[in-house]
């Protein structure tokens, strides 16, 4: 029972259009799971199935060891990508209403709301109407409403869109804190920077199919191709030295700064054995940088997607 959510061969079609094709995933407990994919890949359909907004045509979803059922709604918090609030309703009333819809009693909802309003320093907004608030302010309220009922599984669809950097940071910290407290989090996005920072696991969905999933660090390891980024401080003629290197190694790109006597280059090795090379280089130059290039999630994303497209 280590997985909060297991999807087995889930498929969904809208008429002739296939939104999800035979998707199987395991989302471990107490981690941040990145659901990645270009727009229109099927992420939102998958999330809506988890939230029981729509139903799969085939396959099975297991939530915390049980087949997904309506009562699980109370244990799931969902912040949709298309999100908003009633414009002419007061903030406090609205938050109470949404919390009660999730099954909290009015008194309990009020207590928790006061805590969160305090925490995010928005206590004085209680009697304001949404139309008086900025978009970022409204997003904070949406965030609170999503997490208020302390769900086991939180689903954020593009959570940072619409936030300014300061508030995005506040929300990011809150998400990390929730994870510390034991919540499992699904994080759907096509923006890779946030994935690197937050996610331990990812799944890549492309054209309705899952094309990659697993622990992010392992995926990265698998996608390494022994490319190293080297910086040398050399005393001799740069061009000549580079020539001798090119004869021995597969140099991908290079740059020589004559004023600083600095030679930077990337090279691809046949394996990740580096000690011999470092020894050789250090005979003739002063190594100030030698690092393996680990592919970013973005690179992996683009590479896999392109590969998949070429396969067809």
């Amino acid at each position: 029972m280590d997985d909060i959510l297991v999807a087995k061969n889930v498929s969904k079609a809208y008429g002739d259009y296939t939104a999800l094709n035979n998707i199987s995933l395991k989302i471990p407990k107490n981690c941040i799971y990145g659901l990645l994919g270009p727009n229109g890949a099927g992420k939102t359909s998958f999330i809506r199935i988890i939230n029981q907004i729509i139903y799969q045509d085939a396959g099975e979803v297991i939530f915390d060891g049980q087949p997904l059922a309506p009562e699980h709604i109370a244990h799931i918090g969902y912040l949709p990508e298309e999100r908003g609030l009633y414009k002419s309703m007061k903030v406090g009333e609205q938050a109470l209403y949404l919390a009660q819809l999730k099954g909290l009693s009015k008194a309990e909802a009020k207590k928790r709301l006061e805590y969160w309003f305090d925490r995010l320093q928005i206590g004085d907004w209680w009697n304001k109407k949404i139309q008086e608030l900025s978009k970022g302010m409204a997003q904070k309220i949406q965030f609170i409403v999503t997490v208020l009922h302390e769900p086991k599984l939180l689903i954020f669809d593009e959570p940072f869109s619409g936030f300014d950097p300061i508030n995005a940071n506040i929300i990011k910290d809150e998400i990390l804190q929730l994870k510390e407290k034991g919540t499992s989090i699904i994080f759907s996005t096509h923006r890779m920077e946030s994935v690197e920072e937050l996610c331990e696991y990812i799944a890549l969905i492309h054209k309705s199919e899952k094309i990659l999933d697993g622990r992010l660090s392992e995926i990265k390891k698998a996608y390494k191709n022994n490319i190293f980024n080297v910086g040398l401080e050399i005393q001799q003629d740069g061009a000549g030295f580079l020539k001798t290197l090119e004869d021995k190694f597969n140099i991908l790109s290079s740059d020589f700064d004559a004023n600083e006597n600095q030679l930077d280059f990337t090279m691809q090795l046949s394996s990740n054995k580096t000690s011999d090379i470092i020894a050789e280089l250090s005979k003739n130059a002063n190594i100030n940088r030698f690092e393996e290039t680990i592919p970013s999630a973005n690179d992996i994303f683009i590479q896999t997607v392109n590969q998949k497209d070429n396969d067809r």
Binding site: Y78, G84, Y97
Partner: protein, 443 residues
């Protein structure tokens, strides 16, 4: 589940009744309507009280006291004046006109040479009453020629009313069918207005949830069907509140303004009676009055009000769920036009067909057909029902069949609308075509 539905109903209700324009409408409408009635009554009163004076220059021997004053017209006799002098005097005195009856050897000739002189084009009522005077005189004269004395003539002139009775011997009165259909029509009309006003509210409320993008947050907590149902019920409760306030405050206002302005509303209803040919010949006699009262008391009110509730609830649910589906299918209100027309159409048809065919024959084929067809039956059947059930009224099987059709339609339409709603609320972008809506039903 029920708790959530209650929450939604409460929110929808409060959101509606706290809405500023809703409050303004609630307060303003009765004032406007009563104001309008008072104004019309006031104007009618002024109109009725306008007195026209017509001078009569009678040079013949045939007319003496035929020109008697009526409610709005009085006659002044000129004597020993020439026609030109009479004309000048009429203008100088500011009278409405001058009727000139020249001297001739016989009445026929006199009448054919008589003239009405007026400043402007004469009022048709004035012409009509003058023509009546001549006509009556002529008829009397012609009958006298056939040997009918003037005494006998007045007995000929007595109006005649046919006695009416139903087969079981009960006396009935003229125009009662129309009155009954009219009473049913009021109920039917109330249903139509309610559907159009509050169905529109449901639709706008759905659109608001879509455009404010809160919809997905909510349907992650409740089923779309619950939300739709809660919205329809909440809005209708707000509507019933508004209707109740309207009826109470309008009656109060009307009562007060009648006291203050001393307006006699019966003057208004007399006008209305004359305007509706079917209702002409209203009771002059007390015994007839009693018959009317009896007929109206005899209307099966319990049945009528019970059926009203059934037709109201089912009809409103059918139409407002269609409105909700339309709201879900579009992104903004301007896109709703093409979908709204087909809904309004059966409603309008029901009202017009009802007023034309049920009035003339409550149990004719058209009236029966439309009172069975589920999209028009809530209005048309209610117009037929004041005639009672069974013999002389609506056959029981028709009422039951009509309600059965309505229930089947209700179940069908609501489930279709819920499907469109469920898909539509998550669709943004272009306005769907009917073909696409049909495709959504299969998702």
């Amino acid at each position: 589940m029920i708790d959530k539905l209650r929450l939604i109903i409460k929110r929808e209700y409060l959101a509606k009744v706290r809405n500023k324009s809703f409050i303004v409408m609630t307060i303003l409408s009765p004032i406007l309507i009563v104001g309008m009635i008072v104004l019309i009554a006031f104007l009618t009163d002024i109109n009725d009280n306008e007195k026209r004076v017509i001078s009569v220059l009678n040079q013949s021997d045939f007319f003496q006291n035929e020109f008697t004053a009526t409610k709005n017209t009085s006659y002044v006799q000129f004597q020993d004046l020439s026609l030109d002098e009479a004309k000048d005097s009429t203008i100088a005195l500011g009278y409405y006109g001058l009727i000139h009856v020249p001297s001739s050897e016989n009445l026929e000739k006199t009448a054919s040479r008589a003239y009405l002189f007026t400043q402007d084009n004469p009022n048709t009522n004035v012409i009509g009453s003058l023509e009546n005077i001549f006509q009556r005189k002529l008829r009397q004269k012609r009958l006298e020629g056939l040997g009918v004395s003037s005494k006998e003539f007045s007995s000929i002139e007595k109006p005649f009313a046919l006695n009416l009775a139903s087969f079981d011997g009960e006396k009935s009165v003229k125009g009662i069918n129309e009155i009954k259909a009219f009473i049913g029509g009021v109920f039917g009309y109330a249903i139509m207005m309610f559907i159009i006003i509050y169905g529109g509210f449901v639709m706008r409320s759905v659109i608001e949830e879509k455009t404010s993008r809160i919809i997905e947050v909510i349907i992650a907590s409740v089923k779309p069907f619950q939300l739709m149902l809660g919205k329809i019920i909440g809005t209708s409760l707000a509507g019933i509140t508004q209707f109740a306030i309207w009826i109470v405050s309008a009656s109060l206002l009307l009562f007060i303004s009648m006291l203050v302005f001393k307006i006699d509303l019966s003057a208004l209803s007399n006008e209305a009676n004359l305007a509706t040919p079917g209702l002409q010949g209203m009771p002059q006699l007390d015994s007839e009055m009693m018959l009317y009262a009896k007929e109206i008391i005899d209307i099966p009110w319990t049945l009528l009000i019970g059926s009203f509730l059934v037709y109201f609830i089912l009809g409103y649910l059918i139409y407002s769920s269609i409105y909700a589906a339309i709201g879900a299918a579009v992104d903004n209100e301007t896109d709703t036009q093409q979908f709204i027309f087909p809904i309004i159409l059966p409603l309008m048809l029901a009202i017009y067909v009802g007023f034309f065919s049920v009035f003339s024959n409550p149990h004719g084929p058209i009236a029966v057909g439309f009172s069975l067809f589920p999209l028009t039956s809530p209005i048309v059947m209610l117009m037929r029902l004041p005639g009672g059930i069974g013999e002389g009224g609506v056959p029981l099987w028709q009422l039951l069949l009509s309600i059965t059709f309505l229930i089947i339609t209700f179940l069908g339409i609501v489930s279709l609308a819920a499907k469109i709603y469920r898909i539509g609320i998550l669709m943004y972008g272009k306005r769907p075509t009917y073909k696409e809506l049909f495709k959504w039903l299969r998702y």
